[in-house]
Amino acid sequence: MTVPQSGCSGTEYSLPLIGVRSGVPHVHNPAATVKKVTRLLPPDPRSVGKEPDYRFTLANERTFLAWVRTSLALAAGGLGAVSLIPDVFGSHVLGILLLLLSFATAGTAYRRWALNETAMRLGEPLPPSRLPQFMAAGTALVGVVAAVLFVVEAV
């Protein structure tokens, strides 16, 4: 493959930039990078499709707000676990676990909202998510561990 030299007037090249890392050719594809960013931070849903029934849009907005509140509650719970029961063994670990759950919830809230809104505007099924399962399992685990730690502490 020949790489075009600068000065080739009148020609546009759309070849990917090619580099070599540890002897293995590495292809940098800007479009793939944009796709990754778009996957994490979807664009304005209003740019596609048509306006759905406003009730669905508002329901989606309330769902987003509920996830944000869940994240805030988990963060407050994590801080509370560390500050209110500092003498209980493992309270810091519990606090950090709750804060990690809070971060995961906050980090995906906007993405979920935007993907749901986009799907509604395009008349497509809502995208699946593992976050509810992850959240339920994580919070249940933290609760059970906290109960066990309290009992062990009292013995």
Binding site: E61, V68, H92
Partner: protein, 121 residues
């Protein structure tokens, strides 16, 4: 209607009720989120100032102020949120959704960092 005399908004149209009071429920959801932000900010301010350094408390104060501003916005735009939207009206609060989503990510990251710093010290 009396709205011009009293300064109160006009009666809400029946279709806002027929839609299951969607707008009112959404306005209340914004207000609950704002109050949650304020509570979480107070918790962070207390923890940061007492357990790490008083300057960390300002991050909690910032979160509380952000929650208060959101609450003021929700109150000020309460009637707008109750407006009788019908399809082709655009109702999503895209900019505010991005701001609140971003703020909650920042708040969670700060809280996590503060606890880790406290654990290491």
């Amino acid at each position: 209607m009396g709205s011009a005399d009293s300064g109160l908004p006009a009666r809400r149209p029946m279709n806002s009720i027929g839609g299951g009071l969607q707008h009112e429920r959404t306005a209340l959801a914004w207000e609950r989120t704002a109050i949650s932000m304020m509570v979480a900010g107070v918790v962070l301010a207390r923890f940061g100032a007492q357990e790490v350094h008083f300057s960390v408390g300002f991050l909690g104060i910032a979160e509380t102020v952000a929650g208060a501003l959101l609450l003021l916005w929700a109150g000020r735009h309460d009637d707008e949120l109750h407006s009788p939207a019908t399809p082709p009206d655009s109702v999503p609060q895209v900019a505010l959704t991005r701001v609140i989503g971003g703020l909650s990510v920042v708040f969670s990251a700060v809280a996590l960092a503060v606890v880790i710093v406290r654990l290491l010290n």
